[in-house]
């Protein structure tokens, strides 16, 4: 497939935004149960603001993918069958929840609504945070399923796709949260950086597992089944046009095999190995700068990862478009 930069940015930005929100609420939940010291509201407010900015940027990027963005509202209608439609519904709902979560912390308007049997208070932010957590996971699942549900694109048609969207988004979000905490709430920085380390490591496992799986895939469709002629030797002489078509532009990445290979190694190093090292160093030295650096490098790595994710998928329609004449 041809990686569209709108979608590369959309998926990486909202993934990090969701992860950041999950990280904030993780800290708040820990604090509610007394596992971590309580943090100032400004940490949550700033964090929610940053998460919201990432989500808005992602949404803006997504509009560049549409031919007719003015009609985008229609995309919310087919949630019964279309994962894309479900994403279109969940994304604004999640953004709204993050917004109110941030506002509740910003204004300090956080009355206690109920009490758990253990005595832990249930505040508005706890309710909003729980809703936001559910929506964040729902959004990861929608985004992943948009690709995983296409059974012809066998590189994507695996539960690993959804798992990786969760892990990679989570990794970048937790790394960003740790970098923010270094400034706003140093006491929770080690916990967040620790989680970022764990999720990044899990992300590496998930991504490498996908790479191994995809390297072993055998194409299900062949030129023989595509045109229905059972002869071992078939060569396309012309695809019916010379100047290219939508089919030659949308479904081919146009990069060389060597380029693809080097991007693969590049993202494995920049999205996983280097951030893991920087997080480890940042953690041991309590150096927020290193963690911020880890986030930027990881985000760049994830851009490359997403580019590769699209480029690697080999669409069966390509069988029909092999020879210009």
């Amino acid at each position: 497939m041809h990686p569209a930069f709108s979608v590369v940015f959309l998926t990486t930005l909202i993934g990090a935004g969701q992860g950041l929100f999950l990280a904030l609420f993780t800290v708040e939940s820990y604090a509610a149960f007394g596992l971590l010291p309580l943090q100032s509201d400004s940490f949550y407010a700033v964090g929610s603001g940053v998460a919201l900015i990432l989500l808005v940027l992602g949404l803006v990027a997504s509009f560049f993918h549409l031919g007719r963005p003015e009609r985008a509202w229609r995309a919310a209608t087919q949630w019964r069958t279309s994962w894309l439609s479900r994403e279109v519904i969940v994304l604004p709902a999640f953004m709204g929840t993050v917004f109110f979560y941030g506002v509740a912390h910003w204004t300090g308007f956080n009355p206690e609504l109920a009490e758990l049997p253990s005595g832990a208070p249930v505040n508005i932010t706890a309710v909003l945070g729980t809703i936001g957590t559910v929506l964040a996971f729902a959004l990861y699942i929608c985004t992943g399923m948009i690709y995983a549900c296409l059974r012809f694109l066998r590189e994507w048609h695996t539960p690993l796709t959804v798992i990786n969207y969760i892990l990679l988004g989570g990794a970048s979000g937790f790394t960003l949260a740790a970098a923010l905490a270094a400034v706003e709430a140093p006491a929770v920085m080690p916990v967040l950086a620790g989680w970022a380390l764990i999720i990044t490591a899990l992300g590496l496992v998930g991504r490498v597992a996908t790479l191994i799986r995809n390297a072993r895939l055998k194409p299900k469709s062949t030129l023989q089944s595509a045109i229905g002629i059972k002869h071992p030797k078939i060569v396309q002489k012309t695809m019916g046009m010379m100047g290219g078509a939508f089919n030659t532009r949308e479904f081919f990445h146009g990069a060389s095999a060597a380029m693809l290979r080097s991007i693969k190694w590049m993202f494995l190093v920049t999205a996983f190995v280097v951030p893991l090292m920087l997080l480890g160093m940042g953690l041991s030295q309590s150096a927020g700068g290193l963690i911020a650096l880890a986030f930027f490098i990881q985000y760049l790595g994830l851009l490359a990862e997403r580019w590769f994710f699209f480029a690697q998928a080999n669409h069966p329609q390509n069988l029909y478009y092999q020879s210009v004449a």
Binding site: R68, R74, R151, M241, M242, P316, A325
Partner: protein, 244 residues
């Protein structure tokens, strides 16, 4: 239930692109599907939206090769994977005749449906920014102001070799059903379970066997018993004498 479809005879197609041209002509000027805009039409790399392409494949190894011309358009699948993924409902399959269509007023041009079609049958219109594909000339085949002969898809009407048949594949007595049944019609990429409605008829070896007794009448009574010397071929035979 009706399922309209095309049946394309690969044994007959000569790869002349008449169907491509007529499709483009009709759908560009049609009030519902058109225009189908081209970019760079007279420049170096002309490109544009088409509903139908004719491709050419070479089967076998030289010198034992055969050239196969292969027209390709939306197959109007009975289980169309392109329809449920559409977030706007712009892509739909008509219940009454099984035609898969795009509502150009609803489509947001997200291209998701084209990813979900294994055949590459959908093309975005770079000018209108909506997804386009073969409509089976839905704006012709029901137009009662046309004669019955004209109420067929433009590609079918244009084909000089009658390689394209059009009809209801759910009606067992239709021309298309008979062609599929009797000539080994097959769907493309059956492995995905899309049940394409369009079928293709395979290449067949057409051989004419002529025995000697069909060239020279063996049952000519004058010749059977060899009573008379065999008359020259130019001589009038009994038939020639009696048939006037």
């Amino acid at each position: 239930m009706t399922q309209l479809a095309l049946v394309i005879d690969l044994n007959v197609c000569v790869g002349c692109h008449a169907c491509v041209t007529n499709c483009k002509e009709w759908n560009t000027s049609s009030p519902t599907a058109g225009p189908m805009v081209d970019q760079n039409p007279y420049g170096k790399d002309p490109t544009g939206t088409f509903f139908n392409r004719v491709q050419t494949f070479e089967v076998g190894e030289f010198p034992n090769t055969e050239t196969v011309h292969f027209p390709k358009s939306c197959l109007h699948c009975e289980e169309p994977p392109c329809v449920p993924v559409c977030p706007t409902g712009a892509s739909y399959k008509r219940k009454e005749d099984g035609i898969v269509l795009v509502d150009y007023d609803k489509c947001i041009g997200c291209k998701y449906c084209s990813w979900a079609c294994p055949y590459g049958a959908r093309e975005i219109d770079e000018h209108q920014k909506v997804m386009k594909k073969c409509t089976l000339c839905v704006d012709r085949i029901y137009d009662t102001t046309m004669t019955a002969e004209e109420r067929r898809p433009a590609c079918v009407r244009a084909c000089p070799t009658s390689a394209r048949l059009f009809g209801d594949i759910h009606d067992p007595d239709s021309e298309v059903s008979r062609a599929i049944r009797e000539n080994g019609g097959y769907p493309l990429m059956p492995e995905w379970g899309t049940s394409p409605a369009n079928h293709y008829l395979p290449r067949r070896k057409t051989k004419l066997r002529i025995r000697e007794d069909e060239l020279e009448r063996a049952d000519n009574p004058l010749k059977i018993d060899q009573q008379l010397p065999k008359p020259g071929k130019a001589e009038p035979s009994l038939d020639d004498v009696t048939s006037w």
